[in-house]
Amino acid sequence: MNSRMSSELIFDKSRSGRRAFAQAPADAEASNIPSNLMRNDKPRLPEASELQTVRHFTRLSQMNFSIDTQFYPLGSCTMKYNPRACNALALLPEFSGRHPLGPVSHGQGFLTCMFELQEMLKDVTGMKGVSLTPMAGAQGEFAGVAMIKAYHEARGDHERTEIICPDAAHGTNPATAMMCGCQVVEVPTGTEGDIDFDALKSAVGPKTAGIMLTNPSTLGVFERRIKEVADLVHDAGGLLYYDGANLNAILGKVRPGDMDFDVIHMNLHKTFSTPHGGGGPGSGAVGVNDRLLPFMPIPVVGSKQVDGETVYDWLSEDDLPQSIGRLSGFMGNAGVLFRAYVYMRMLGRDGMERVSEYATLNANYLSSRLQEAGFELAFPTRRASHEFIVTLKREARSLNLTAMDLAKALLDKNYHAPTTYFPLLVPECLLIEPTETESKETLDNFVTAMIAIATAAKEGTEFKDAPYTMPVRRLDDVKAARQLDLAYRPE
């Protein structure tokens, strides 16, 4: 990456009267819309040629780290390879050009894929129903908690308004509970990374609507007493929500349904390798067991037999009158679902299991090597799942090397940083998730880079000003928040 790259804006290239002429009708007669409804100001959009535009955005792309260009061990995000075929096949013209409200007569190819995707996701999660409509993990969480609430309401159980979350949970869990009108009850983590069972015992009760769990947890370890947790919550009348953020760790090995979870959301952009796209689109399909089937968000793809042939169609309000409703304008992120479908078909039955096996192998190998090199693991007595935590609390104290410093120093070594300062309960932490698609050499080279930084720190080098080789150096976040500059406005 070239540190001298400039941050010139597309607007700086604008010249009055310049256009990419091939891209719009050259000319058009003015409309007859009444003048009081018309705009009389001119929005300042760029005025640039096609080449200038192509060059500008190509250059911007080169100012990004990405999976395609760097090792990206961002914990909890499952930054695995996104096969190019998934993108190309989702963008076949018949699929990308299909109107969402087009008739099912012109959508059997699309609906067949979606139906089969639902079936495959049911299989890998051990659930009885799947709705593909949530547009991101957080919306899947919303759908899940809304279904839990709807279930209690339908039983006349109106007092269940508390959602239990471990202190290590993703921030979206408590935020979702609040969006669903629930109160959050936080339970602590025990010393070995499992949930504090005694604290959980005293947290459950007649007000418990449910518990939101990630397993393996965000601490990178498997919740060993999951069956007891499930029994405890179920006996108290609550339901169990599985946050699928870490599904990659157990794919094809253990299913949330078999752990007695009632509802799960999957992050298709993690486990099923759809693109992260610089922060989206995600896709947060939800799976449910029998209890919650009637409450699934709509639409869902259904099938029926017509003249001996299978025909796919939408299930809507009429089929699921107790549904929590619609969460998107149409049916969710169909194009993302296509990519997940292609990925799953390419992996096949055995490939699913290999995902979790090699993701776990890579994580355990990397943690062993880093531990051997002198880095401290947050949970050294535990087996890593698909990710693990290194804590720099010792280095921060003795070498003035914080998690932030190490993250920035890694950028200069051409590695994306792991997730830093999450989970909040581990001081100076790095949450590292290598994924199954990285080779041993990549992991070895990463260890070499980590050792080099630690060694330099021991020899007195400070990394407070790193990175040095990026297009920009550390940015002034305080200024960004105090002197808000959120859009370019020429003088």
């Binding site: 050259a26 929005p43 299989d123 547009m135 989206g280 689109p281 929590i324």
Partner: protein, 455 residues
Amino acid sequence: MPFIPHTEKDTREMLKKIGVDSIADLFDEIPTELKIEQLEHVPEALSEMEISRLMRQRAKMDGSPMCFIGAGAYEHHIPTAVWDIATRGEFYSAYTPYQAEASQGTLQVIYEYQTMITELTGLDVSNASLYDGASALAEASLMAVRINRRVKSGRVLLAPGVNPVYEQVAAAIAGAQGLTFERLPEDMTTGNVDFNALPEGGDPVAVVLQQPSFTGTLDDVDRITDWAHANGALMIGVVNPTSLALLKAPGRWGAEGADIAIGEGQPLGIPMSSGGPYFGFMTCKKKHVRQMPGRIVGRTTDLDDKPGFALTLQAREQHIRRSKATSNICTNQGLMVTAATIYMSLLGHEGLVNVANTCHHNTALLVDGLSALDGVERLFDGPFFHEVALKLDQPVTPLLETLADRDILAGLDITPFVGTDALLVCATETKTQGDIEACIAAFSDVLASANTNSV
């Protein structure tokens, strides 16, 4: 092993380093009774060649009909460069720009997007996008409650032209926090707000107007905005970005302008793709920025005083505020916003005006032709942008099915929404005069045979 690089030698060495004999040993903390033997319903793996063949067969089943449906998703020409660049691996396979120094590309794209979408909507600030237009209405309504704290009613008043699905989505999401959505009275001749029957009092927290409306009509945005503000409500505009090349920007509505503008970003270079992924845009007045949900990018400087870009105002967000966040939203639709920014750059203002005018004229041509047929007339009087509701003297769906057999999707049956046999049509710049004439001729033909059959 698709996408897994390990050789047998690698695996052996790695297991040895870990100190276990087999990969199975790595799962020894998971209770044995929970483990499964084999998945039942996932088929065997396909090679890229095999899946490509299968997907092409499936695509053929969907065909490429000529499409005159709009209703919230619109077929526009998408410049080749848009997706060529947006799917470059550096954009496609990057994540949320947490490490700002290594994500300046994505961050600058979002800053440029925020600039363009605020220019189009005439408002001060934008977030980095939401999931889609419908869910953006839910977020805007919740945002209005946070801004308009004085008002405790939780009542959001929707103009008659707000997309009915948007209302369903907003109710499903924001209803959980006690918000209620009610419709303003409708003038049955125009499909717009009936100003003679507007309610008094009731303390609404916000008023929502969609321009152009779901049925394609254009309402008196100034008058409604002023009425909303006079009644202590915030004004939320739901707008189509293509139409903003021509139509008054929400920031200029009425004396004070709308407070929040949202909409579906799909027309800006995003393929229709059966409904997503799209992106919802949201802009607002600067004074409301701290109540806005979602990511926001700001321009700042680095240690060398050089300009650069970073996520800002993160104290609103779930990963910092947890249960006190403005929303649980975590992602934006980054890739879609990247495409839209390239699209807007390639079109520019002049290009977008020409697209909008061509859409308008094509729709006028289609509507003139269809409403000249017996048994077809416009449902509402008044001006339109690129979508019009037509009233039919017979059930709509059978006609549409017959036309679909001829690979013409002649519009959307909106009978359930408007309570009379009606069709919503749209002709964008992608249609030629020949396409439109073919649609009118086929429609005429199908109407004629329907009438013959019913006699």
